[in-house]
């Protein structure tokens, strides 16, 4: 079965990004597909590559990047939500005249249409938020 996943809250502050991660992993372990994860609202903050959690805590962004790499998950960060909150890829940073970007490997920035498309193409859509 194809599972689409929405992550609506930022890392560490809410457990949503962790629960979504464990759910995605379990779905893949059971032979299901997770073609896409869509990061919306504060969920876009999961995609920063500047996070440095304490050494004895999990690294939420890295966990996602590795899971996506190993399983070919399309991790999409909503562009409108990301711009408000300061998550930019290199192109966007250049276009906006910012001298830094912070989008982590494995994530891409795109529009909300990707969320609707996920809902259409997946058998199930599950939202993790607050």
């Amino acid at each position: 079965m194809k599972f689409g996943i929405v992550v609506s809250e930022g890392p560490y502050t809410h457990q949503a990004a962790d629960t979504a991660y464990h759910f995605a992993k379990a779905a893949l372990d059971k032979g299901h597909e997770v073609p896409r994860v869509f990061f919306y609202h504060d969920g876009v903050n999961v995609a920063t590559n500047l996070s440095i959690p304490p050494q004895d805590e999990r690294h939420i962004q890295k966990n996602w990047t590795e899971l996506a790499k190993a399983n070919d998950i399309d991790m999409v960060v909503c562009i409108a939500a990301a711009q408000r909150r300061g998550i930019l890829d290199e192109n966007e940073a250049k276009r906006q005249g910012k001298d830094a970007s912070n989008l982590a490997e494995g994530f891409r920035i795109s529009g909300l249409g990707q969320l609707i498309e996920m809902g259409i193409e997946c058998d199930r859509t599950v939202t993790f938020g607050d």
Binding site: L112, G113, L115, I116, G119, I120, T125, T127
Partner: protein, 135 residues
């Protein structure tokens, strides 16, 4: 082309205190281009999103409530509002904005997009969907 899926956008939060209501509306507007069978549910504090006379000048946050009145132009015409949620909050249907659309199947007659439904009807609507997105 496969048949359209039934999408329900569930709105349970008040506007302005958090951004969920606004960012939900942004999804609805973009989603309209995909020609799916779209409904919006307003229950619990979500009913506050549709109230009249919102004026955000003093708090410096954008007033997005007029956008609801434009939903008809995007062919989003099914807005279900829960009666019990209104009542618990001291609201009457007349406290909500008028949101209309022109029905192309009925000689472009103007019709209301807001439907007041009971809690039990809301449960039926929720149980009749393919995709439920919650905000």
């Amino acid at each position: 082309m496969p048949e359209a899926k039934k999408f329900l956008y569930v709105n349970r939060k008040a506007p302005y205190g958090t951004i969920y209501a606004l960012e939900s509306l942004e999804v609805v507007l973009i989603g309209a281009a995909f020609e799916q069978d779209v409904s919006l549910a307003f229950l619990d504090d979500g009913v506050f999103q549709l109230t009249r006379d919102q004026n955000t000048d003093e708090i410096g946050v954008k007033n997005f409530s007029p956008t609801f009145r434009a939903l008809g132009d995007y062919e989003v015409t099914k807005l279900f509002v829960e009666k019990e949620s209104l009542e618990e909050r001291g609201l009457a249907p007349s406290d909500l904005q008028e949101i209309m659309y022109e029905d192309e199947d009925d000689d472009w007659e103007e019709k209301p997009s807001i439907h007041i439904v009971s809690r039990s009807e809301m449960a039926d609507i929720m149980a009749d969907q393919d995709v439920v997105l919650s905000f």
